[in-house]
């Protein structure tokens, strides 16, 4: 149970940034991971507990196929990653949801699985969506090898050499996950089972734990295969490479609707982030230690950007701009400049003329040395609250709410075809979410309800002519089609960061912006867009290894750099 904070003891804050400024796709699509990101939060938690990972089962053959179990205790509960590795025909290796086979599959299990339970999971985990799972199964996921890197590392280690730094840096992982399922999917446990448990109560905490354990498995697996291949010449992978190898992830459209279907959760994530920024901006005078830490971090960020290269033209240009802008800020933010009053507020102000990517990088940067001010906010990021209809609200009140909070929606001209060009839908093919062209493809009659702005406008039109004193209850009795959007408008009044303030069906909507926002909250970095609707990323790059939890630098891995890579 989290106690309500005492307002008299809360840190000072400046005004929060306006939701109309923050909740735009272009800005959300420029976010970077912060120390509030869920992976960071989990690793801090594991470090506080000095959690120890054990490997009670390792039944993997010389080719790397078989099963393994990793266990650890968090908050007094034992959790185990049950991992399966199997041969995969290269023709079947795809990151898409429509895949039906994978190199590896995993279940995060609640407790220590018996052999019978491992057998059960071995029957089902490799089938993923086609399998059935039970209430002891908390997370289901799978990962495919980055064939080029995995084979290179095996080959090098077997020959007694270390892998190529540039290749390790360019890819950043041995395997990438292509889906991580929690909260009741395919019969696994509802989130209610763990949401009150210390350590796993935060958003996506169980999923983040599973992925961290998967990363450890990939490192063990690559060494195991190399050792079996050439025991006489094998060498272990250098720790600096292990630390820099995270776990990759391919993320497509499936993740985007989540931000729309969980408005209160989105609000809470954003509110925590913006509150953290407001607290840091309110710092009137900073300490030499924090200045030193900041200078170290900005230098690291510069080097990280130097190691962030992608094929995508749009993102490459953004990175190039960002490198230049950060260099200017680094020159500006001297120790003396930072010793003047309100250094962080002035620094944020100074980014006003920079790209959104630079502005959001600096937001993440200034939070980083201020854990004592901001880390407690992670307790406010979870929510099981549902948007609740307020039936006593009057039509007049509802009109005022729309006028006050939904100008972003009512200002769009939906008569213009480009404003309705896209539609979101679920394909019958493995229920893969997809995006279509309304004027060129069938299926728009089955579109998902992500057209929030258009619905707000329709509601506003239908409120015209109603007596101001008529209640929402009376209105919805004859117009139930507005129930969904009335609930959202009312939610927005109390949760200002609950809506993406853009037209999600417009021709200019780039789903990749939604993906980057959500993935940044996970803690992802090295965004590598492959189109406007899917991206690869790296998770846990630079994060502590199993045997480094609790170490001095266990929380110091924001925007990691691989020494020796170009």
């Amino acid at each position: 149970m989290i106690e309500a904070p005492n307002p008299d003891t809360l840190p000072a804050e400046t005004a929060l940034r306006d939701p109309g400024e923050v909740m735009r796709l272009s800005r959300m699509g420029s976010f970077f991971p912060t120390r509030l990101s869920f992976m960071r939060t989990l690793i801090r938690r594991l470090s506080r507990e000095t959690a120890t990972v054990t490997r009670p089962v390792w039944d993997i053959d010389e080719s790397g196929f078989g099963r393994a179990v990793y266990s650890l205790t968090v908050g007094g509960h034992v959790y185990s990653l049950v991992a399966f590795s199997a041969p995969l025909d290269p023709e079947r290796r795809t990151d898409r949801v429509i895949a039906e086979a994978w190199d590896t599959s995993y279940v995060l299990y609640d407790g220590t699985p018996s052999t019978a339970e491992i057998d059960r999971l071995e029957e089902n985990a490799p089938k993923q969506e086609a399998g059935r799972f039970g209430a002891s199964d908390l997370v289901l996921c799978r990962a495919n090898k980055s064939v080029r890197v995995f084979e290179h590392v095996v080959d090098c280690l077997a020959r007694g050499t270390q892998p190529c730094s540039d290749l390790i840096n360019a890819t950043g992982y041995l395997m990438r996950t292509t889906a991580v399922y929690g909260n009741g999917k395919f019969g696994i446990a509802d989130r209610a089972r763990i949401e009150q448990r210390s350590g796993l109560s935060g958003p996506f905490a169980a999923e983040m734990l599973a992925v961290w354990l998967v990363r450890g498995f990939t490192l063990d697996l690559v060494e195991h295969i190399a050792r079996c291949r050439a025991p006489a010449t094998f060498v272990a992978l250098d720790r600096k490479f292990k630390r820099h190898l995270g776990i990759g992830n391919a993320t497509g459209l499936g993740m985007a609707p989540f931000l729309v279907s969980h408005p209160i959760l989105l609000n809470n994530w954003m509110m925590a982030r913006e509150t953290a920024l407001a607290r840091v901006r309110a710092v009137s005078k900073t300490s030499p230690e924090i200045i030193e830490s900041f200078l170290h971090l900005i230098a690291r960020a510069r080097r990280h950007l130097g190691q962030w290269t992608v094929d995508d033209g749009r993102q490459s240009e953004r990175i190039a701009t960002l490198r230049g802008e950060l260099a200017e800020l680094e020159a500006l933010a001297t120790p003396q400049w930072l010793s003047e009053p309100y250094p962080w507020d002035r620094l944020i102000e100074a980014t006003g003329r920079c790209s959104l990517e630079c502005q959001e990088l600096v937001v993440a940067l200034v939070l980083e040395p201020h854990g004592d001010l901001v880390d407690g906010l992670v307790d406010c990021m979870a929510s099981d609250e549902r948007p609740r209809l307020q039936p006593a609200t009057t039509a007049g009140d509802l009109k005022r709410l729309i006028a006050e909070h939904c100008g972003w929606a009512t200002s769009i001209d939906f008569e213009y075809r480009r404003a309705t060009k896209q539609f979101w839908y679920v394909s019958e093919e493995k229920l893969e979410p997809r995006l279509g062209d309304r004027y060129d493809e069938p299926g728009a009659d089955l579109e998902m309800p992500l057209d929030i702005a258009r619905r707000v406008q329709a509601l506003r039109r239908d409120l015209d002519g109603l007596p101001d004193e008529q209640t929402v209850a009376e209105f919805l009795l004859s117009r139930p089609e507005h129930r969904y959007v009335v609930r959202r408008v009312q939610t927005l009044a109390a949760h200002p960061y609950a809506e993406i303030r853009d037209n999600l069906i417009g021709a200019d909507c780039l789903p990749i912006d939604m993906l980057r926002c959500k993935l940044s909250f996970f803690g992802a970095s090295k965004f590598d867009p492959k189109s406007d609707r899917w991206t690869r990323i790296t998770l846990y790059q630079g994060a502590p290894l199993f045997d480094e939890i609790g170490g001095a630098d266990a929380d110091d891995w924001w925007l990691p750099v691989l020494e020796g890579a170009s």
Partner: protein
Amino acid sequence: MRHSLNEIEVLLRKAATGAGYPYGVAEDIGQAGAWLCAQGQDGVAACLAGIDTGPDAPPPTLRNTGTLSFVDAHIAHCGPSAFDFLLSNDTAGEVRLANADAPLLLVGLAGAAAEAWETDFALQYSHGCTVRVGPSGLDMSAPPPVAGIDVILTRTEKIDAPSDRKSPSDGIDVDEVLWAKALALAARTYVPASEASRARGAGAGEIDND
């Protein structure tokens, strides 16, 4: 087969959407079904009974001071509005639902509303039984009410309903025939597969051997 509560809620919401209900109403139906399942009731059957016939025109209503009446009450349609009416009234009001087609769904909608608003409801049936629903659970000693019954719905003082709520973490057994029926309704919301959709819709390739 056992299913998680989230799975049940999501499928019932999709099924209601597939049956033609507005999304906001479908959300309420999904929550009602999951709430019933958590109470050990057959929430899937209750929801399917309510949505099977599809939405119709806005239901005929009669209104007097403090009372809202539905004739031939189609619960999936008028149920959410019934609770809106009670929750929007400061004064003690009642909703009369005649010839209710899915009375157990009404119990589920009551449960979801009770949880959301931390309030209590009484459902008084024409055969004399009363079901009480609150945030802490459900007091329904009599067998589940059957279709065609008349119901009077009121908000009540807080009660301590004996909670026989199952742990939602255990999963819920659902009849396979009913589940298949819900899946079929949900499938009406999916766009048929095509090569063009597969190639363009997700913006990704189909082989990733890099």
